[in-house]
Symmetry: C2
DNA sequence: ATTTTAACTTTGAATTTCAAAGTACTTTAA
DNA sequence: TTAAAGTACTTTGAAATTCAAAGTTAAAAT
């Protein structure tokens, strides 16, 4: 068991780290919100949300608000758990 | 200025994060030590140290110990500074 | 009616990651 | 003493990932 075993590969990237951080404190965030908060381009954000969705760390819900499409994201129970583990591992790694 | 502006891309990867963490508390670490602590393969570790070297975040020194080649790494002043900034940014991001 | 804006998705090129194989010795064992 | 095994990396190139440009579809503004 190495030093970085509990560092989760899925959260290695700063945009995915950002997405999860946002979804830990907000029940939902939509595409636009994530995009603005993270300063990501559309395609880039889409691929990172897709990666987290694939791991089942976030849930994607598509709906219409009025007549406009809207995609909103939330963290799954698994995602929250794994993210917490990741943070703990990070703290252990850097906190000494 | 977005949420993740101060998250340093160079430290996004867990192996590079591990290397820097080790070099923050140890003046030096050699290839073998990094490899064991991080559980990385040779080629993989080499490419991550190269990436950090390119940014001038670590210093690479090659010497012989007895008759064996030995490569040791240390964090540069810049590397330490940038890593601290990164950690601060991480804490801000995840600490609520 | 036409242009602009919004909210994404698709695409594929560029970059990054990774481990297998290679290099250049040194050490051990026969 | 010479062959086999180990050490300490480096090189290579295939695979995976990242990224933004361009595309799509429809709404809003002019």
């Amino acid at each position: 068991m190495s030093l970085i075993d509990n560092i989760n590969k899925a959260f290695d990237h700063r945009i995915r780290l950002g997405i999860m951080s946002i979804l830990m404190v907000n029940d939902y965030a939509d595409f636009k919100m994530l995009k603005e908060l993270l300063g990501a381009t559309d395609g880039n954000l889409a691929s990172h949300t897709k990666a987290l969705e694939k791991e089942e760390y976030i849930l994607v819900e598509k709906q219409f608000i009025g007549r406009k499409p809207n995609t909103r994201y939330s963290a799954t129970k698994l995602g929250k758990l794994q993210f917490k583990k990741h943070i703990d591992a990070l703290e252990k790694l850097i906190g000494k």
